[in-house]
Symmetry: C2
Subunit: 599 residues, 2 copies
């Protein structure tokens, strides 16, 4: 089992590259060791193997339907949610105080990776975890007691209810209203769309973490508050409907296992919400959770692309077709496996480079996220800034390049890839949402160039460049890696050139011009940080080969790492040439002038 991801690779990243056990030196993680980390990972893998992966097609082919106000999901969802809850994995990252396992994000995000690689249509528990985390972090003790335990057990579903028909990327336009009641609660009125797991028949209750505007609140983002809005209120006389109506379920291209709901609150003027934390602090609270959520989306994308890569790799090893190009006329010779054709091998190396590079980048971000939460002083602050600046790439690279990677997986199968006889057509559909939700690629790009590159006077950017510089310096001590260290240094210089070309626009206050090609800058930065991750992996692989005398599969594993690092530098890194050329180009072509263009 687990043919949808490589346990060896995950262990390499967790323990050889990112040295998970080092985190146990911090007080918060002191009760853990390699054993408890492995136990959580093994527990997740067992659930993924037995209760999730076997149903990957079922949940796609039998999508949720809304009938008579009730959403029915595939029956396999029940056993999976229960198992994840029973194993304590919904609360894996929660503090002991809140009934959690107090595991680092490095481990919990790896668990997310495994579950999403197995069956990304089963994303219910990740959503509950994120919603419960908001309550645990910012809610009153009463709210925590009332909701968190039932969510961590898997009995109650959690959701993030942000988007409205007129407020997608622009959250400042949220209009759902919250009217104060004498008892301290609020009456909620409005509509939310695209609410994943926003209603279904498996959970006993659905707990929406909802953004709304208290009557009279300031306009824009400064007047948005966060509420707990349950499907059912729990009263002394039992469960009472809370006037949250399932207005519709979206039928989607992929991720069909989880219903995306259109919800209407307060049709009968009887929808009650409970304020989380302080009024008007909804967006800041959300922002504090956003890094974790974005790591989660990145892991979803990396998981899907990894499953597709492993399917393509297996197929390419088994599928005979044609003869090698230098032996074209050997008609009596049997056909060769397609993995032996350079073009197919290039496609596979691309998939390996993208998927393992993405996972590495996400674990780098997760580790920094952990340190930002449990360390102190400058270490904490620096780790926080590193997470902040890595996040746009850690969300976007796995998503955007994951889409391309799965497309190459599909191509590897030829005509069969287009059929439902193989798993890739589904994964091709599933992954396409990841560059959209949790901040589109365009939004991530504005975040990177408009906020993160300049935050704290550029300190976040300096910290990132410093970390990359350390890897470059270390790589330069190995003859085989030195050329790649030099190449990465060149890439850092190229980023500087682009910034020098763009900064005058920011200085002049022309934000629109400054950010007009931000998406291309994000693409460039994505390549640079993943090149960094590959060089980092190559150093560890090289050290292992020098010191551990690996043999057989182990030797091949480390050689594969070195080889794929080289592939990334020789095939992917050159793409920055075109990106930088465009970014430094002064011709303005996408900014609206007074005169509308005929498109």
């Amino acid at each position: 089992m687990s043919a949808y991801f490589s346990k060896r690779n995950l262990n390499f990243l967790l323990h050889e590259v990112f040295r998970a056990e080092d985190l146990t030196q911090y007080h918060h993680f002191a009760d853990h060791d390699r054993g408890t980390f492995d136990m959580a990972i093994d527990s997740a893998t067992h659930i993924a193997d037995t209760l999730m992966h076997p149903h990957v097609r079922d949940v796609d082919r039998n999508q949720p339907e809304l009938k008579d106000g009730q959403v029915t999901v595939h029956p396999s969802i029940r056993a999976y949610i229960k198992a994840v809850g029973d194993a304590g994995l919904i609360g894996a990252g929660f503090s002991f105080d809140h009934g959690g396992q107090q595991l680092p994000e490095l481990i919990t995000s790896s668990i997310g990776f495994i579950l999403m690689a197995a069956n990304n249509g089963m994303m219910y528990t990740g959503l509950t975890s994120g919603a419960a985390d908001l309550i645990a972090s910012f809610g009153s003790p009463e709210l925590i007691e009332a909701y968190v335990p039932n969510m961590l057990s898997g009995n109650w579903q959690g959701t993030m209810a942000l988007t409205e028909p007129q407020a997608g990327s622009s959250l400042s336009d949220v209009t759902t209203s919250a009217t104060p009641q004498p008892d301290g609660t609020y009456k909620i009125k409005g509509q939310k769309v695209f609410i994943s797991a926003g209603d279904h028949d498996v959970a006993d209750n659905i707990i929406h973490l909802m953004l709304a505007r208290i009557d009279g609140a300031p306009k824009g983002t400064k007047g948005i508050s966060l509420f707990v809005v349950p499907k059912y209120r729990i009263t002394e006389s039992g469960k009472v409907s809370n006037d949250v109506t399932s207005t519709g379920v979206y039928h989607k291209l992929g991720q069909k296992g989880v219903p995306a709901m259109h919800l209407t609150m307060g049709e009968a003027d009887n929808c009650i919400g409970y304020l989380v934390g302080q009024p008007h602090q909804g967006l800041p609270y959300m922002f504090q959770m956003m890094n974790g959520a974005r790591i989660g989306v990145g892991m979803t994308a990396a998981g899907i692309a990894t499953a597709a890569y492993h399917a393509a790799l297996q197929y390419a090893r088994e599928r005979p077709q044609s003869r090698r190009l230098n032996e074209k006329n050997a008609l009596d010779a049997p056909q060769t496996a397609i993995i032996n054709h350079p073009d197919v091998r290039r496609m596979l190396l691309f998939q390996k480079a993208v998927t393992e590079g993405s996972l590495s980048l996400l674990l780098e971000a997760a580790r920094a996220y952990d340190i930002s939460r449990v360390a102190e002083g400058e270490e904490k602050e620096n780790a926080h800034l590193l997470v902040e600046i890595l996040m746009p790439m850690a969300k976007t690279y796995p998503s955007e390049m994951g889409v391309q990677s799965v497309s190459q997986s599909l191509q590897t199968f030829g005509g069969y890839g287009f059929t439902e006889d193989f798993p890739v057509e589904q994964l091709y559909r599933d992954i396409r949402i990841t560059p959209i939700y949790e901040g589109t690629t365009g939004i991530q790009a504005q975040d990177l160039l408009g906020r993160k590159m300049t935050m704290k006077g550029g300190k976040a950017a300096q910290i990132l460049m410093g970390e990359v510089g350390k890897t470059i310096a270390e790589a330069a001590t190995h003859d085989e890696l030195k050329p790649y260290a030099t190449m990465l240094k060149t890439e850092l210089g190229r980023v500087q050139e682009v910034l020098q070309a763009l900064m005058p626009h920011a200085g002049a206050g022309d934000v629109e011009r400054y950010l007009s090609d931000a998406t291309l800058f994000l693409e460039q930065m994505g390549i640079v940080v993943v090149a960094w991750q590959w060089l980092k992996q190559a150093i560890v692989a090289k050290q292992a080969m020098l010191t551990q005398n690996p043999q057989g599969d182990e030797l091949a594993f480390y050689e594969g790492k070195l080889h794929t690092m080289k592939f990334f530098f020789h095939y992917e890194v050159p793409k920055t040439l075109g990106l930088a050329a465009r970014l430094k180009d002064t011709e303005v072509l996408t900014i609206v002038s007074a005169k509308e263009l005929a498109l």
Copy 2:
């Protein structure tokens, strides 16, 4: 209607850029004029508007099913096939002798573009046209009489039956057998897969143009013959089953309107095939038809991507979201239409550049194809070589970049793009087959670099470069276009540099090394020839603005052409930098050594 493509743009290309009427100076097209061309286009548009586009979802949501050996397709297919047959459009390109309209490929491929933009799940008539063309071109008068009229009327379906389970890209491995019978017919035994429209309930008969190997034939591609294998034999006593069994219907990611069949011939040893032309000439016959077929696939891709672009464009004009970046704090201001955000405008310009550039490239190839068939002497030969060298790009660029273009259409819709409430999710699925069928991108790349670049001592390449050079020279006479003429000239130089780096491998007989990155070379060449097409369009637009004093929509149309040309040169052309860097790079990473790599 026809919101799925721009009639204005098609007319611009057909009549202003490629001057369709000039073709009527050739004897073969002498009976035609602008009026007959327009009539055929209008007739196709009417069918597309009324019988095809309204059913674009129906045929996707109700895919063909195989029950009790019978394939049932959506009922709307019947009226569409009848209308296309009745309008004479199945035989639009056939000679008057064969009951056709003797229209140039420039017009017939434009018709294909319109029909596929309207509803690419309705591709039945295009398949019949291609199959009937093989019979008309190479069959005996008896075969032609027996089959062609019934196919051109739409009563009988035609198919191309090439692929077998073990012979996809490698047609030399076809094993379907043909055993000569005393009456001159052959008994056929074997299996074919992925046969589009290979069986359905709308046609009275299904006529397979099938590759098979006559007993004792030479190995490889030199022993493959072409047969007509009907579903029913027509005898004096009526229709008799011809022992072609529908073994299965593939369920697919997209293009669900048309069944892809798995067929088994000769289970009861009673499947008769009729030889087309000479024995062992199957592949050469197919190759002579291949350019038309590949233009057809390119047009399918361009049509799908165009439909997606027009949907995205309309949405972007209507969807309000957020405020312009320089007015972020104007919270009282209404939200702006997303087309006013530079990032969205960049995505739309990308889609316009790809789709209109693709259509232009395909029409360039179609026009050369026409001249290659109807001209004489050197003109004919040169046109033939131009078609040959353009074809890998004309098939691949619209397909590969079309996939990316539809992905950007989907992204333009944000979360809504991922739902079935809008048409793009279907188009995103539909277009994904185009880089696979009719020769995968990898096969096209080998064809370009391995065969076309070097054919006739490089003459085809010289002719292409000569044509591009003419456009550069003409563009250089306009101040506004001169910088782009210079840029395109630089790109031709970059292609030469790459070839100089690669040719030594070909010279040394190391074909595997020479072709190992052929796909990247094809990508580079695709960008260059589409840049050429954009410059060509810009010259015509510029001339029109200088000489015709266009106003209003007409002025905006021409300005849009100039603007999009600039966009292509500033955003797409720089991608050749990275491609050329890799292609000139000497590090070999995708060729299998004795030692297997751990992927």
